[in-house]
Symmetry: C2
Subunit: 399 residues, 2 copies
C-alpha cells in the first residue's frame, strides 16, 4: 500500500487529491445573533435546542427568541455534554410531532453535534441508530439547521461531523454527512465572556489537538495546509493562556473562536493524510470513565507522539522548528523537547495529562482495549499502524 | 472616522465583524475533470466558454466534452485576456437564443470572470452594462456555472468577483455578487504543465499581490488571517521561481494552484481592512496601455508601499520579520529592505517593475489620473487616503 514506506524517510509524496466544499455562512461579530432571521425562511416552525440553563441565564436564548419574532418557536433543552442518543431521540419525536422545519442549536459542540443528529434522524427511514453504525453513509437528507455558538472548541459550527454517545452501550461514535452542514453559524466572541474558565481550557486543547490530528502525520508537500495548521497552532499557543487570564479581552476571544472553527472545517485537512487515533482512544476514555473530551486528548496525544515518533519523524521535526522554534541539537532531542512542550502547554491550560491524575490505573486498560476492538478501532492512525498493541503501549505510557 | 489614527501607532484595534460564506466545491487533483458530470443537473443545455485555442490544442476541451456525454453542448470561444464587454455580450445572446441552463468556463481568470458576467447578464433585466456601473449590486440571479481552471492566478474559480473591460470606453471595472460563485471548480495541477512560463510568472505575482492587498494595511489583531496570509506569501516565494525552473513538478504546481485560490477566496480578507489601491491604479494602466494585469501590479505595489509606508508602518514591520526574516537594524531600514526584496522577487519572476520598462513615460500620468477620477477612484486604500495626489506620487515613483 502506498502509505507504507521507510519510516524516517522524507517521502517526496504528492499532495493527495481532494474535494473541498464548505457552504456554512459564518456571521462573525458582536450582536450578529440579531440577524439570524435573514437566514431562515419566513413562516418556518423553528425548534431551538440547547443544553443546561446557561444560555437562558446569560440572555442568549432571549436574544435568539427576539430575533425570531414572527416565527413559530419551540424549545428543547437538556442536551448534555457528550450528547446521548437517548436524549436526542426525544427531540426527534418533538420534531416529528410538531412538524418542525428548521433547527437552531444554541450552545457549544455538544448541542450542535446533537442537533445535527436530530436533523438527520428526523427524516431518516429506519432505525436512527444505524446512522452511527454506518458513520453517516446512509443519510440522504436532513432538516436545515443553524447555530449560535457559545463555546469555541469543536469546530462543529462549520463542519459536517458529529459525535453521539449511547450510554446503554458505552459507545461514543462519529458520523459525517454533507447534509448536516449548518446553513449559518453565529460566532460572537462576547458570548464566551461568561464561560467557566474550565470550558476555555477544554476548548483550546480540543482545537489544538484537532489541528495536530491533521498536521502531525507524514509530509506530502502540502505547503499551504502545513502553513495554515502551523498558523493555527501558533495562534492557540499565543491566545490560550491569555484568554484564561483576561476573560473579557475581545481580540483574544475572537482569535480563539476563529482558530477553533478553522481547525476543523475541512480546510487544513484537505489533501493531507490524517491521524485521529488520539480521538478514537480518547472517546473510549470518555465513554468508560466520563472524562471531558479535552482531558482525554491531553492525556493521549503526548504519549501517542512518543510511541509513534518513528512514523511521524519528519513532521515532528517540522513541528519542533516552525511551532516551537527548536533548531539546534540532535533530531531526537528536538522531537523529545517538542512533545514535552506540548504536554507543558496542556498543563499550562490547566488540563492534567496523565491517567493517574484522574484516578485511572493500569487495571482499566484491558477494558479500554476491548472497547476499541468492539468498535472496530484496531488499525488507527494515518498509516493504520496503531493496532491494539500500539494502543496498549500508548495507554501504558499515559498512566 | 474610526479608521483614522496616528499613523505609526500600533492600534489595539478589534478584528472587524464579517460574514463569510464560500459554497464552491473544489475538485482538486489529477483527472478530476472526468467527474464534472456529477455536479451538473442531468439533461442540462451546457455552454462551454473558453479563450483562444490552447484548451483545444492541449486536449482539455475534449476531456470536458467527453465528461459531458449525454448533455446538449454548445461552445463559445474567443474570450480574450481582460475579457471585453463587447465579446461577452455575444455569448449572452447565444445563451438566450439557445436557452442554455449551465455555463462551464474552461480557462484562466479571464475566461472565468467573463463567464460570471455572462451568467449574470443573461438573466438581467435592463442594460447589462449597469452591472459594472453599480459593481454587481443589482444582480438578483445568475445562471449556475462551473469552471475548469487552467491557469493559477486570479482566484476567480472560488470567489464572487469578476473584472470586465469595455474597450470603447477604456474602462476596466469590477463587480461582485454571491450569485456568481462557481458551483464547482476543477483544479488539476497537471493542466498547468503546458502553460507558457510567462503565464506562470504573471500568476505568481498576481496571487502574491492579492494576498498583500488584504494583509499589508494596519493591524487589527486578526492573528489567524495574518498567519494564513503570511503562509501563502511564504509558499509563493518558495514555489514561484522553482515552478519556472521545473514546469512538470506536480507538487510545485499543486501548491501554486492552491495558494492562488486561497489568496482570493474571501478567507484571508474576512475581518481585516483591505487596500486594493494597487489593483485600481493597475487597472487604468491595463486599460490605457494594454499591460498584463500582473505587470501593472508588479510596477505599482513597491511604489505604493514606499509612498504609503507611514500608514502601513506596523504591518510593514511584521511583513519584514515574518515573511523576510528581517529582525535587526532600525525600523526604516527593515521596511526599506522588505520593499526592495518584494521588488526583487517580482523581477526574479521575470516581471519588470518600472513603467519605463514598458515604454511608458511621465507624459502618460495626467491621462491615467484623469481616468482614475472618471472611475471615482479618488480615495483609495484601507484608509481612503490614496487621493489623486497620492496616486500621482505613486505613478511618478514607478517611472
Amino acid at each position: 500500500m502506498a502509505f507504507f514506506f521507510k519510516s524516517r524517510e522524507i517521502r517526496k509524496g504528492k499532495m493527495l487529491d481532494f474535494n473541498f466544499r464548505n457552504p456554512t455562512n459564518i456571521l462573525f461579530g458582536r450582536g450578529k445573533i440579531a440577524t439570524i432571521n435573514e437566514h431562515i425562511s419566513p413562516g418556518s416552525r423553528v425548534l431551538i435546542l440547547y443544553g443546561g440553563g446557561s444560555v437562558r441565564a446569560n440572555g442568549t436564548l432571549a436574544q435568539a427568541t427576539a430575533a425570531l419574532a414572527g416565527y413559530t418557536l419551540f424549545e428543547f433543552s437538556g442536551i448534555e455534554p457528550n450528547p446521548s442518543y437517548e436524549t436526542l431521540m426525544k427531540a426527534v419525536e418533538l420534531v416529528q410531532d410538531e412538524s418542525i422545519d428548521f433547527l437552531l442549536a444554541v450552545g457549544g459542540g455538544s448541542v450542535i453535534d446533537g442537533t445535527k443528529f436530530v436533523a438527520a434522524a428526523a427524516l431518516f427511514e429506519g432505525e436512527p441508530w444505524s446512522i452511527l453504525l454506518d458513520r453517516g453513509a446512509s443519510i440522504e437528507r436532513a432538516l436545515p439547521m443553524g447555530t449560535v455558538l457559545t463555546l469555541p472548541a469543536t469546530g462543529s459550527e462549520m463542519n459536517r461531523g458529529a459525535v453521539v454517545t449511547r450510554r446503554a452501550l458505552q459507545a461514543k461514535l462519529v458520523f459525517h454527512s454533507s447534509h448536516v452542514f449548518p446553513q449559518f453559524s453565529v460566532l460572537d466572541p462576547e458570548k464566551t465572556y461568561s464561560l467557566p474558565l474550565k470550558q476555555i481550557s477544554n476548548g483550546v486543547v480540543d482545537a489544538y489537538v484537532h489541528v495536530m490530528e491533521q498536521y502531525l502525520t507524514y509530509p506530502v508537500n502540502a505547503m499551504v495546509q502545513d502553513r495554515f495548521a502551523e498558523g493555527l497552532l501558533l495562534t492557540l499557543l499565543e491566545v490560550g493562556p491569555r484568554a484564561l487570564a483576561d476573560p473579557e479581552d475581545y481580540d483574544l476571544r475572537a482569535n480563539l473562536m476563529w482558530s477553533a472553527t478553522m481547525g476543523l472545517n475541512g480546510l487544513i485537512g484537505a489533501g493531507v493524510p490524517q491521524d485521529w487515533a488520539t480521538h478514537m482512544i480518547g472517546h473510549e476514555l470518555t465513554a468508560a470513565h466520563g472524562l471531558d473530551h479535552a482531558q482525554t486528548l491531553a492525556i493521549i496525544l503526548p504519549s501517542l507522539l512518543t510511541v509513534c515518533q518513528e512514523d511521524k519523524w519528519a513532521k515532528l521535526l517540522q513541528y519542533a522548528e516552525r511551532v516551537w522554534g527548536l533548531k539546534g541539537g540532535g533530531e531526537e532531542t528536538r522531537i523529545e523537547a517538542a512533545i514535552a512542550l506540548t504536554r507543558k502547554f496542556f498543563e499550562q491550560m490547566r488540563i492534567k495529562t496523565h491517567l493517574s491524575d484522574y484516578g485511572i490505573g493500569e487495571e482499566s486498560i484491558p477494558r479500554l482495549l476491548q472497547q476499541l476492538e468492539t468498535h472496530g478501532m484496531v488499525a488507527l492512525g494515518e498509516r493504520q499502524s496503531v493496532t491494539l498493541d500500539v494502543s496498549k503501549k500508548i495507554l501504558e505510557m499515559s498512566l
